[in-house]
Symmetry: D3
Subunit: 136 residues, 6 copies
């Protein structure tokens, strides 16, 4: 159950509908997923998030699939079920194989475990991890 | 300040020292970082974590640098300062450039933001994200 | 699905029922929401939480609507879907408009993003943020 | 210790320095705090975050002080020590009194407690919290 | 809705089925819960997690019921609804009474509250909590 | 560095000093740790938290040491470094041995790992975990 209603095309404002149509064109599908329909109550935020995510997830020094894997990892650690679902689907669409998915989960599980251990042990950061030491 | 003392080589048990030496050999350095020295109070756990991390982070369907990026992302979302430092250092050692670091942070920031929005909006998972629908 | 059964009026102890009736009177409605019906398995905890929340959320240096906005923000960051729902409803009942809701979400999203960046960058606290410096 | 070096004015790129100068002008102080100096390694991200935070935190349906209180609340729940420090300082600069700070903390503590209880009890969302029920 | 399909006995690989049968034998029931059926897509991870959890949760310096209580506490703080359900059920099976459950929740709520307060106040760790001071 | 100054006995109000003295008497030591000195800016909150923690941590269906172990576990998952330190010290004072500490950490690490896996897999709660099924 959503906290706000999910706006369909008729209920969305003109500005929001324009973003829905951008999403459709960018993805080559008529389907607009629930996240955007909930966000459409604030058309300015909807447009801003959509524009930024297009830019952040574009190919660059990291390829788009790697970025999706990172997105799934963060969403898992933040406990966002919706985001885990939608970005796992995106990762699959960008070529994530079952083996890659299994390794992603293994790293997330490993990190979650050592994060807890380092916190429970209060481990102080080693001086050699200080980047100021390497400034000229 | 650590919650337990950091064991130096003289204070470590024989089993813990053997792991310290494995770490030195695997990394080609004499330095053993604080996490392992804190964990050495429980030599069985020390050995188990070290063995597993070697296996999980090894090349596979994902390459080791991608795995480090995922590790940094999870550590950030979990708020583990020590782990962010140590795995950012590992990622650099495995070839992460400043541009890659910048993109990693941009994805982590983006995901953190949409995770919060999806949770605050209570967005229900779209039926099409259900993998059961695609079982034969 | 709850971890414990939700107690109806007949199943609740006399002490729990007295709290249910206090809730009804304070809110001017016969409806007692699920949180209290689950908590009713421990009547002392039920009474203690209800009494404290009445006191904490009362008008003071901050007005009740501002307090509800803060409650929604914390619940989002902690990933508590139930609490996001119930306190967004409370905020609306206390006068939160759609514009206020949109701005609340924009701040929560912004903070989530910079929280992640500050953690990923390990930013040290500026000396000038130290209140001890301003003690006489 | 930061994960990246903190760039001073001489080390910053022209684009980053321009943002530093915007920050100085907007705040009427020569001081640029550490967050921005760390973020300056990615001048585009620096500019984007600064621009967005200016817009998000501006007066609107919610006043700037209320927005700072929400920012502190989210930063606390996300465990970002740096952000708690910097935004508590901002809130004070915008008029937060000790009484308001005390009430802010009381709400954050209260919410953290009931968030945990609702999660531990797995409380299902009440049907009446569904906004779809009120669509015409 | 799961992110991956839940594998039944026919769909599981021979290695995964062997773990399912170990689970059945260890627990004296034919029922294998959903967590393991989802994890079975990666039989090596399935086996590793099952083996480790058997070892970690076995009687030792702490008894198995205490370990389950700790498991529920961590799962609550991490916001894992599934884990709260499954480990609350395990704790009950190992003898957790309603009174013990109530006290567990009271401690989790108390800790969540003071965790938030200590973070919001940025309380520095007292020197006397340093174990290095007590090294000979 | 604290967000507020740590109040010494001279700076504390009469009401806060009375709580400091209760803490001294209850613990049989003259030392009052930093958490309480930071909280003393809000004497009513200070008294309320101290009173409640005394009651919650008292012997009951669970013994005080078990309660401290649960407190450390929650504090770890919530990433509160101060709380991990102070409650690990309390647990030691109440009899936690190094073996018990090692097992506590092993359970916390195990739970953190399976919490992440269950979230990343979106595992649906098994119907048999529903307590409503067992209501008469």
């Amino acid at each position: 159950m959503a906290v706000v209603s999910l706006l369909n095309d008729e209920e969305a404002s003109a500005e929001a509908l324009a973003v829905f149509n951008d999403i459709r064109e960018a993805r080559g599908t008529d389907y607009v997923n629930n996240f955007w329909r909930a966000l459409a109550h604030d058309p300015a935020q909807l447009k801003s998030v959509w524009d930024r995510i297009q830019s952040v997830m574009a190919p660059g020094a990291l390829d788009p699939l790697v970025k999706e894997l990172i997105y799934v990892a963060v969403s898992t650690a933040n406990g966002c079920g919706y985001c885990v679902h939608s970005h796992t689907a995106s990762a699959r669409a960008k070529g994530m194989t079952p083996d890659m998915h299994a390794e992603l989960l293994a790293v997330v599980a490993m990190a979650s475990q050592t994060n807890a251990l380092a916190t429970a042990l209060g481990v102080p950061v080693d001086a050699r991890f200080d980047p100021e030491q390497t400034k000229g």
